[in-house]
Symmetry: C2
Subunit: 235 residues, 2 copies
């Protein structure tokens, strides 16, 4: 039975890293004291060690130890033996490339299906969708595929941003981009605003946090989902 928290962001404005999720994470990871951290997305290009230290500091507040996946000689075995897993944000193209290069991706998919508690934020949430095709990131490296973990039967757009009606900038809005995605891809997309997360328990996928989320289905007008919606029921 799947057991995942898929969060739009790690950090809220004026908050510290993972702060708004810590009470939730105490419960989510209650059966383990050690978290395996996947640092591959490297926000701003920081090193795997630097990134892992930042995560270690946050998790120490709820008495969890953290080990970076890059510290293991055999990362596939490390994932197989993990009791709790967290994948942080950064660049999704880089994260997905590294998951394929290290051949961790299939093991991670199998592992999460058996119920190991998982936390993803931003890029680490993006990979829980069917593909990474709705990431906001820049394609700084070329991954061997856009296919990702498929932990939910739709795609995820983290850091969802509403159109700014006062903007004079002519670049596409997020909604325009997702509509373009739907010209070529059949799966629904959830736009998760910062502060929202999905709580996945088996087939129950519940929208959490105080905000609504935007739900895009190909060929239909997008709708707003209220917190506590079970998304599995609207599929």
């Amino acid at each position: 039975m799947k057991n995942l928290i898929i969060a739009s962001t790690s950090t809220l404005h004026n908050g510290s890293y993972l702060e708004y999720l810590l009470s939730e994470l105490t419960i989510h990871f209650e059966n383990t004291n050690e978290i395996i951290f996947i640092p591959f997305a490297r926000p701003s290009g920081i090193s795997h060690d630097e990134y892992t230290n930042k995560v270690r500091e946050a998790f120490s507040k709820i008495n969890k130890t953290v080990k970076g996946l890059h510290e293991f000689e055999n990362p596939i075995e490390a994932i197989k033996n993990a009791k709790g897993i967290f994948t942080g944000g950064g660049n999704t193209f880089l994260l997905v490339s590294e998951l394929y290069r290290t051949k961790v991706i299939d093991t991670l998919e199998q592992k999460l299906k058996t119920g190991t508690p998982y936390l993803g934020t931003s890029a680490g949430s993006n990979i829980c969708g069917l593909t990474m095709g709705t990431t906001n990131d820049m394609p700084i490296v070329y991954p061997p595929s856009f296919r990702t973990l498929g932990m939910v039967p739709f795609n995820i757009n983290p850091h969802y941003l509403d159109p700014d009606n006062n903007s004079t900038h002519m670049g596409e809005t997020r909604e325009t981009r997702i509509n373009e995605f739907h010209k070529f891809n059949p799966q629904p997309v959830i736009g998760l605003r910062e502060g929202s997360w999905l709580d996945v328990k088996g087939d129950k996928i519940t929208l959490k946090g105080n905000l609504t989320a935007r739900w895009f289905v190909a060929g239909k007008d997008p709708i707003e989902l209220e917190p506590e919606t079970n998304i599995f029921e609207i599929l």
Copy 2:
């Protein structure tokens, strides 16, 4: 001798399609009455015909006829015989995928090297760089490669946006993304603000328009380039 206009955007706020460039385009395309239009990027997923009609209307103001590349039975021959070429904006992943699928990409590269006048806007400008790795677009389809035309020895970031210091949104700024790009890629990147374009004549690459452009070199602080800078001289 290359002869290209590489523009950040097709349209300025409160302007009509290509309006701000029309006097420039009269000179740029003075030796041909027919423009071949590459509509593959399909902004908002509009059809090739719809997109070509929009371009036809704009170019009719300077007495040019427009034929969409999708209207030709043999697009490779069409590019070979073209007297002027325009690639419009939309989604860069889609544009690049189609350039590879139709096998037009190599012919287009060879053709532009021989001096056929070319206009690119947005995605159509992005492909003039070494790779599409600094596009802002969503990866809605998976192209066989990120390699693009290499008409300039650097990468292009169109619709360049300065950081909004008042924003509470935690997504990455454009500058952060380009800095991440430079952790994995050696080539410089130009951030072209809306209203700027590059005028490429052989090896002379001149920044045009009223605005400065932002120039990113791996491992260095970005600088602002003044209009009329010959970028070839700072490489």
